[in-house]
């Protein structure tokens, strides 16, 4: 069983809802990322999602686009992102790390080299936004052979058949994109999410993480009542962007936001 599957099985037993913060590797600088990952775990993160910077992040809103640009200015890359995971693993062998990015850096490295490097670095899951099941077969099989989960997305307009398909090809967890839109979207409607989750739950036993547009503790609490994991990204990266000259302040603000989310998620009415 993968580290992600084991974690989610434990959470299911205890009724714990996972908090998954997302930051872009190397933003605002490469030295920031590993200490930030450890601090997020301290603040209550169960799984860390690490964005791999890409020059053309088509599914991302302006906040994560700019995070990617800042990281690329520091020559961040898929290889260097894997080095960051390795470094994180020297002091943490239990918190799952999921890479989130786009297909081309993986294509450039080659699926086989990538799968092996990801395993050696201690990666647990890979979410490639523009690699739907139609094109993911080869990459997913290689990752699975190293006990790494390929994480697939579901969207508000995914049909029941599509959910069944994801159930059969996916592992680790399914990531439900809670709005039709890009990351950091402002139009999250939690009652829509609630309705869609009925269809999803009826067609898969895989844990469901929910992300896109979750900005505060109150929303995190509602979403935690619906899914198995809450993903928060743009709201954290906004803190980095607001404090580019003072990364330590950004770090504190991120810790505080995560703690407030953790507290709200753990204290359901």
């Amino acid at each position: 069983m993968s580290r992600l599957a084991t974690k989610f099985a434990e959470f299911k037993q205890s009724g714990h809802k996972a908090l998954i913060p997302f930051i872009t590797a190397g933003d605002p600088n490469p030295e920031f990322t590993v200490p930030m990952m450890h601090a997020m775990v301290e603040a209550g993160a169960d799984i860390i999602e690490l964005g791999v910077p890409f020059s053309d992040p088509m599914a991302d809103g302006p906040v994560i686009q700019r995070a990617s640009e800042r990281a690329l200015e520091h020559k961040m890359s898929l290889r260097r992102t894997l080095e960051i995971v390795s470094e994180f693993r020297t002091n943490n062998q239990t918190t799952p790390v999921v890479l989130m990015g786009y297909a081309n850096p993986v294509e450039a490295m080659g699926y086989e080299s990538f799968a092996l490097a990801a395993k050696n670095a201690g990666v647990d899951g890979v979410l490639t936004v523009d690699l739907p099941p139609e094109e993911a077969e080869e990459c997913a099989a290689l990752l699975n052979s190293y006990n790494i989960d390929q994480i697939f997305l579901l969207a508000p307009n995914s049909s029941t058949n599509r959910i069944k398909k994801m159930d059969s090809v996916g592992s680790g967890f399914l990531y439900y994109v809670s709005v039709k839109g890009i990351t950091g979207a402002g139009n999250l409607d939690t009652s829509d999410v609630q309705r869609k989750l009925i269809d999803i739950r009826a067609n898969t036993q895989l844990p469901v993480g929910i992300g896109f547009g979750i900005k505060d503790a109150e929303t995190a609490k509602i979403i935690a009542g619906l899914g198995d994991a809450v993903v928060v990204g743009s709201a954290l990266i906004s803190k980095i962007e607001a404090n580019l000259t003072a990364p330590e302040v950004a770090k504190q603000d991120i810790i505080e936001l995560l703690k407030s989310m953790r507290f709200a998620m753990d204290n359901q009415d």
């Binding site: 890409f54 297909a103 139609e134 579901l154 307009n157 995914s158 994109v177």
Partner: protein, 403 residues
Amino acid sequence: MTETTNSYNMPDERGHFGPYGGLFIAETLIPAVEELEAAYKKYMVDAEFLAELDKDLQHYVGRPSPLYHAERWSRELGGAQIYLKREDLNHTGAHKINNTIGQILLAKRMGKTRIIAETGAGQHGVATATVCARLGLECVVYMGAVDVARQIQNVYRMELLGARVVSVTSGSKTLKDALNEAIRDWVTNVDNTFYIIGTAAGPAPYPAMVRDFQSIIGREAKQQCLTQAGKLPDVLIACIGGGSNAIGLFHPFIDDADVKMIGVEAAGDGIESGRHSAPLCAGRPGVLHGNRTYLMADDDGEIIATHSISAGLDYPGVGPEHSWLKDIGRAQYVSITDKEALEGFYALTRMEGIIPALESSHALAYAMKLAPTMQSDEILIVNLSGRGDKDMQTIANHEGVQI
């Protein structure tokens, strides 16, 4: 013995041209492309749809476009007989409308009320704004800020036609960034929005669909050449940005093994300078904008900034079918620098009284090199994909002239 046919039959049912093409998109867009795929399959064999398309192509676009024997220029070059496929004479001034007129008819039948498009030189944006005006549909065109500045007249044309032009300031501020932004819009407004992609690239079924709409160029050229010269051409030449005018000319000739096909990419300041837009000549396979194809990317898979004097060729990728035709050796891909393209531009303007688009000037410049090496009874067709009116400012700047 059973007779076997070797006729070209790409893409496969999943939109692959060998390893290229495919469906590399985010999950939210899957229902949209599935819906489009179903409509495309249904209507491309629907007699009523095809009749409406033919009627519009004839009476609104002005087809067939002439195949013009450039006798003076051919004589001057002293080799092959050069024929120009006059896509520049289409309504809106380029081949782009062959595709937008087809896609808008699909959008109408699918009940979509909002149209989005990306544009580089602005020709596809104008062709989209035009068909939207005609059908009274909302139209939003994404255009890189750099291109907005160098193609300001086309921006104004789109606005006159009622479109909203969004200047894209992310990334390199050119065509690839306009595509990124259009995709972001599409994901957000997927229920009511139809994305009219302007070139034979993107997720399946776009590469095949755009090719099918543009293949009118090659079908006409073939007939016209047989009628006028009594035989098939020896060589076809077309410029390649995304490659829609080229695939439109090439596709009907793919099974005619004796017809050579040459695609001309933009070498910008020269391939060796690194400042170019020639993924087929100097790139590598990768994934961008929904398909696998040759790309300009670095060792880490990050997309490299491109350069060309012509906004319409300033793109780091290329339609996936060209990648396939390159790998199987059916088409040949070469490149022409900014400087050479300008020579092609001036030659046609002065020799034949036809002012070509800077994009098409790349194809003309290669014809200038090739024609003198050919026999005088050989035929070379150049796709004159667009007219040069939109490039007056660029040419004047180049000459240091104020207009």
